[in-house]
């Protein structure tokens, strides 16, 4: 079973994603960006869904940290955020990420989005 890591501080968001994806994927969750870069780097996930606006260590910081320790792992990181902020997306465009997407809330759309990145 393919593994997906969801990093999001909002428990409801995580729950919606889990509900949508748990039938097809092995779901792992983190509720903040603390330690996320290390975990992504060593976790062998097929896809990482990374929220941007999180307290203490936000998504952009996770991306920067991961770029330092394991640049190649960024290819499996899909940034999903409720509010696409141009300042942040411009900065993140410089990294070889899987993508930057507006976060869907509808379970069907979540499945479509994830399917798009996992074929």
């Amino acid at each position: 079973m393919r593994r997906i890591l969801i990093i999001d501080d909002d428990p409801v968001n995580r729950e919606i994603f889990r509900w949508a994806l748990s039938a097809e994927f092995e779901i792992h969750e983190m509720k903040s960006g603390i330690g996320a870069a290390d975990r992504i780097s060593g976790g062998d996930y097929d896809l990482v869904l990374l929220d941007l606006m999180m307290p203490i260590v936000d998504g952009a910081e996770v991306v920067r940290d991961l770029a330092d320790i394991n640049l190649g792992a960024l290819a499996r990181v899909l940034v999903v955020t409720a509010a696409l902020n141009t300042n942040v997306t411009e900065e993140l465009n410089g990294f070889p990420l899987a993508g930057i997407e507006a976060r869907p809330y509808d379970p069907d759309e979540i499945k479509i989005l994830v399917g798009r990145f996992l074929q």
């Binding site: 409801v12 729950e15 409720a82």
Partner: protein, 463 residues
């Protein structure tokens, strides 16, 4: 050195030539070395002329008024050892003199009362002062004719030597040069000042632009935070509804009904905060007092937190002193919102830490209660301890990320508590962590129920 109206017959004594040349060198040197002002230079050279060629009066005149006036810039009278200035000659009164000094580098009037160039001065001037001979030289520079150096001799008439004429001519040339240097200096100063003014204007414009950009950035950040704050629970509602459409398991459906309801209530609270902030800006926020037990409100606030939060680590402690004061009469829903915001922040920013929600007697205000939310998280960096209460957080947003919670949460909470007549503040917790505390009076102040905030006129309070 100077060509002029030299009456060439007389022998030129070598010693005078050497003496004059040495004096000219000295004058130039003095101007350069001591950075003499033009006025000082004129005094130096008029005095020098009287000494060098033995005349009683030497003066420098500037040509003004389109060449129609000569104004005395400096007159030295050797007998009185005195400087003066400001007398004036008009071309209309002395046409021959103006013509004479304008057409020849040097006017050597051996016999001034009869000389064609100077006889206009004979009566009332030359005779009064006893002047018999005059030696005048044009002052000119790259701007053309600028004035005249005038030497007046008293006593027996004298015949000016070519050497004396050359000396005075040279002094006049030096004077023209000094005038030009002064004017160039003034122009350079004026340019420098204009430059400095321009630089100041550019700096002011840049500062204004930077300020506008900063305000814009803060506004953008605020909108991003607020938008995030509204979207998150809204997604809970909409996502939950989509799940309900597909979900058939009764217990899971029940669970999602609960999430939707709490997301909706949290969303309503966020919307109310945004609207209240706007009402505060317009000066029309009105609080609504009701009578209630503090402990009930705290329990309610804990139950109404964002869905999915780990409320299990919140411990409610109501000290007897907080019960003894009896029920409060203040704005219950906004007090609960404040408590909710503080708890929400603690949950977010102190992950895995126990959280104590404590009610006690007021320490700072009279007749009130104190509520504090304490956690063992990282605390708030000292330089951010005030900034976190600012709706538009300073800096690059890291403050928000580190401690800002909702962006609006702490700012609106402080507004609410202030309007309830109380105080809300942060204190570091001993042994690490944060304490956010507030105190409110038992009764809502009368004026808060029709409070107008900062817009002090014109807008009627809604009731």
């Amino acid at each position: 050195m100077v060509t002029g109206d030299m009456d060439g017959g007389s022998e030129i004594p070598d010693s005078d030539m050497l003496r004059f040349n040495a004096e000219l060198d000295r004058l130039m040197q003095a101007r350069r070395d001591h950075a003499l002002s033009l006025a000082d230079f004129l005094e130096t050279l008029t005095r020098s002329i009287t000494r060098m060629i033995g005349v009683s009066r030497a003066s420098v005149w500037w040509l003004e008024g389109q060449g129609q006036t000569l104004r005395c810039a400096c007159l030295f009278e050797s007998e009185r050892d005195r400087f003066s200035s400001d007398s004036e000659l008009k071309a209309s009164d002395y046409p021959h003199y103006f013509e004479a000094f304008g057409s020849a580098r040097v006017i050597a009037a051996h016999d001034a009362p009869t000389d064609s160039g100077t006889r206009e001065f004979a009566h009332g001037y030359l005779d009064t002062l006893g002047i018999t001979s005059m030696l005048d030289a044009q002052i000119s520079n790259s701007d053309g004719l600028r004035g005249v150096v005038c030497c007046e001799h008293t006593g027996a008439p004298r015949r000016w030597t070519a050497e004396e004429m050359a000396f005075v001519g040279s002094v006049a040339d030096y004077t023209g040069l000094a005038l030009e240097l002064k004017e160039r200096g003034e122009m350079a100063d004026a340019l420098g000042q204009a430059n400095a003014g321009l630089r100041t204007a550019i700096e002011a414009a840049e500062a204004a632009q930077a300020e506008a950009e900063r305000a814009n950035r803060l506004q953008t950040q605020f909108l991003a935070n607020t938008s995030h704050e509204l979207r998150t629970p809204l997604h809970g509602v909409l996502g939950g509804l989509a799940i309900l459409r597909a979900e058939t398991r009764p217990d899971v459906r029940e669970h999602w009904f609960g999430i939707i309801e709490r997301s909706g209530r949290w969303l309503l609270g966020s919307v109310n905060s945004v609207l209240d902030m706007a009402a505060i800006e317009d000066g029309v926020l009105v609080l609504n007092a009701s009578r209630f037990e503090l402990a009930d409100a705290l329990t309610e606030a804990t139950a109404a937190l964002r869905p999915g939060e780990e409320t299990g680590r919140i411990e409610l402690q109501v000290e007897p002193a907080a019960r003894d004061v009896g029920p409060l009469f203040t704005d219950r829903s906004r007090l609960e919102r404040v408590v909710g915001n503080l708890l929400d922040n603690a949950i977010k920013f102190a992950p895995n830490s126990p959280i104590i929600l404590r009610a006690s007697a007021a320490l700072v205000i009279a007749d009130g209660v104190r509520v504090s939310v304490e956690d063992e998280g990282p605390g708030v960096a000292e330089h951010l301890q005030e900034a976190i209460f600012d709706r538009f957080l300073q800096g690059d947003g890291s403050a928000h990320r580190q401690h800002g919670g909702s962006g609006l949460g702490l700012a609106i909470s402080r507004e609410y508590i202030t309007r309830m007549g109380g105080q809300l503040a942060y204190a570091p917790r001993e042994g690490g962590g944060s304490i956010f505390w507030f105190e409110v009076p038992l009764e809502l102040p009368e004026e808060a129920q029709c409070r107008r905030g900062r817009a002090s006129s014109g807008v009627p309070a809604r009731s």
